[in-house]
C-alpha cells in the first residue's frame, strides 16, 4: 500500500499551519483561520493544489455551520482536521469516492480533536494552579498564560502529524474500493450531504422560514439562468 509522501518543508509548513489553526479556534485571535473554508485553502496552497480542495472546503464548512461554541459546550474542532483532510485529498486520486472517504474520516477526526481540547483545558488547570490565590507574581502569570497557548499550538501540530500518519493508509484504501464502480453513488451522497447541511443551517436563524424560501427561489433562478 503506497504511503503519503510529502517533502519535509511541506510537512513542516502543514504542521505550523495546523498549530495556527488550532490556536485560532480559541486561544489566539479567533480570526477565522480555523474555519474549514480558510484552513482547507491554506493547506491547499501549501501542497500546491488550492483549486482541487474546493469541494472539501464546501463540505466541511457546511458541516461546521451548526457548531456553536457556546459556553463550555463540547464541540468538534475544525482547524487541524481540515488541514489534514485537504493535504490527504490533494495527494490522492481526487475522485468522488476519495472525497467522500475524506469527509467521513475528517468528521471523525474533528470529534477526536475536540476531545483533545477538553484534555488541554484540564491540563491548563494544573498549569495555572501556581497563579491562583494570594502572592501571585505578574511575571509567572504571563509566562503560564503564554505556555498554555504554546501547548495549544503544539497540540495542533501533533494532531496534524498524527492525522496525516494515521488517516493516509485507510483513506487510500477506501478511495480505491469506492472507485470500483460506485463513484456515482459517492457523487450523489456528497451533493445530498451538502444540501442537507446548508438547509439545516437556516435553523440557526429562527423565525425566518420565509427568507429561507426566498433565498432558495433566488438560488433556483440563478441555476436556471446559468
Amino acid at each position: 500500500m503506497p504511503e503519503l509522501v510529502l517533502p519535509p518543508l511541506t510537512l513542516l509548513l502543514l504542521a505550523l499551519f495546523g498549530g495556527w489553526a488550532a490556536v485560532d479556534g480559541t486561544s489566539v485571535g479567533q480570526f477565522g483561520v480555523s474555519r474549514p473554508l480558510v484552513a482547507v485553502l491554506g493547506a491547499g496552497l501549501i501542497v500546491g493544489e488550492p483549486a482541487a480542495v474546493l469541494p472539501l472546503a464546501l463540505l466541511l464548512e457546511a458541516a461546521h455551520l451548526s457548531v456553536l461554541p457556546v459556553g463550555a459546550a463540547r464541540y468538534p474542532e475544525s482547524g487541524p482536521p481540515a488541514v489534514v483532510g485537504a493535504a490527504l485529498y490533494a495527494a490522492g486520486p481526487q475522485t468522488p469516492g476519495a472525497l467522500l472517504s475524506t469527509l467521513v474520516l475528517v468528521l471523525a477526526l474533528e470529534w477526536l480533536s475536540g476531545e483533545s481540547i477538553r484534555w488541554l483545558r484540564s491540563v491548563n488547570i494544573r498549569l495555572l494552579l501556581p497563579c491562583l490565590g494570594r502572592g501571585v507574581r505578574a511575571g509567572l502569570l504571563e509566562r503560564r498564560h503564554l505556555l498554555a497557548i504554546a501547548a495549544d499550538f503544539a497540540r495542533g501540530m501533533l494532531l496534524l502529524l498524527a492525522g496525516l500518519t494515521l488517516l493516509a493508509p485507510p483513506l487510500h484504501w477506501a478511495a480505491g474500493v469506492w472507485g470500483n464502480g460506485v463513484d456515482p453513488l459517492a457523487r450523489a451522497l456528497l451533493t445530498m450531504f451538502l444540501i442537507f447541511m446548508l438547509a439545516a443551517s437556516a435553523r440557526l436563524f429562527t423565525g425566518r422560514a420565509r427568507l429561507f424560501v426566498v433565498g432558495a427561489a433566488a438560488g433556483l433562478l440563478v441555476q436556471v439562468l446559468r
Binding site: 479567533q30 491547499g44 481526487q94 490565590g133 477506501a174 442537507f196 439545516a200 437556516a202 440557526l204 425566518r208
Partner: protein
C-alpha cells in the same frame, strides 16, 4: 480623559485577542482576563508590588464572557482600578456583566454574524468563484465586526467604567444580529439550491440542475427539518452509507 496611558490602552486591546489563551475548567477565562488587565494593573500599582499581587489575585478568579466582548469588562475594570475603586465593588461589577456579555456575544457573533459570513463565503464559491475568493469574503466580512468589537469594547469600557452597560444597551448590536440573521437565512436557502449546480462530488465543476433535482427535493426539506442536529445525523447517515459502499466495492471488485 482616561487615567491610563496610551500605551497601556493599546496593550489592553492587543492582549484582548489572547483572553482565551489559558481557558480552563477552574476559572474559565479568569486567568486570561488577568493577563489582559496586567498592563493596567502594573501601571496603577507601579509603586506597590503587594497591591499589584492582591489585585492579580482578585482578577484570576472565575470569569467568563464572550471573547470579543471581554474587552468591555477589561476596559471598565482597568478604569475602576485606576480610580482605586473598592475591590468588592469591582468584584460585584464583574459578576454582574459576565453573564450579559456572554449571552450578548453569543447572540450577535456565534449565532448570527459568523454563520452568516460563512454562508456568504460558501455562496460565493457556489456561484463559481475560486476558493481564495470565498475564503476572503468570509474573512473580510467576519473580521470587520470582530476587530471592531474588540477595539470598541476596550474603548467604551475605559470611557464609561461601571456605566458601560448603558452604552451596550444603546449600541445597535442586537439590531446588527437581526439583520445578519435575515441575510443568513436568505443565504442558507440560496446556497442549498446553488449546491445542486456546483456539484460537491464532481470536483466543483458546474453541472445542470435536472439530473440531481430529486436529491435536492429530498435533502433540502429534510435538512431544514432536522435543523441543528444535522451534523450528527448527516455524519451518521453518510458514514453508514460509506461503509455499505465499501462492502459493495469489495464484493464487486
Amino acid at each position: 480623559m482616561s487615567p491610563l496611558s496610551a500605551g497601556v490602552r493599546r496593550a489592553l486591546v492587543w492582549r484582548s485577542f489572547l483572553v482565551q489563551g489559558s481557558w480552563n475548567y477552574e476559572t474559565l477565562i479568569g486567568t486570561g482576563f488577568a493577563f489582559v488587565l496586567l498592563p493596567a494593573l502594573r501601571y496603577v500599582y507601579r509603586r506597590d508590588p503587594a497591591a499589584l499581587s492582591a489585585a492579580l489575585c482578585r482578577h484570576t478568579e472565575l470569569f467568563n464572557s464572550h471573547p470579543f466582548l471581554a474587552g468591555v469588562a477589561a476596559g471598565a475594570v482597568a478604569r475602576l482600578e485606576a480610580e482605586r475603586a473598592d475591590p468588592e465593588m469591582i468584584g460585584r461589577f464583574k459578576t454582574a456583566v459576565r453573564g450579559s456579555l456572554g449571552s450578548l456575544g453569543d447572540q450577535v457573533v456565534w449565532m448570527a454574524w459568523r454563520p452568516a459570513c460563512a454562508l456568504l463565503g460558501l455562496a460565493v464559491l457556489l456561484l463559481g468563484a475560486p476558493l481564495w475568493l470565498g475564503a476572503a469574503a468570509f474573512l473580510l466580512a467576519y473580521n470587520a465586526l470582530h476587530v471592531t468589537l474588540r477595539v470598541w469594547g476596550v474603548r467604551i469600557g475605559l470611557e464609561h467604567g461601571v456605566g458601560v452597560g448603558r452604552v451596550l444597551r444603546q449600541a445597535p448590536l442586537l439590531d446588527a444580529a437581526r439583520r445578519a440573521g435575515d441575510v443568513g437565512a436568505f443565504l442558507a436557502g440560496f446556497a442549498a439550491v446553488a449546491a445542486l449546480g456546483a456539484g460537491a462530488g464532481g470536483g466543483g465543476e458546474a453541472r445542470g440542475v435536472t439530473p440531481l433535482l430529486w436529491l435536492a427535493l429530498v435533502a433540502l426539506p429534510l435538512g431544514y427539518w432536522v435543523g441543528l442536529r444535522s451534523r450528527r445525523v448527516g455524519w451518521l447517515v453518510v458514514s453508514v452509507l460509506w461503509i455499505a459502499g465499501l462492502f459493495y466495492g469489495l464484493v464487486v471488485g
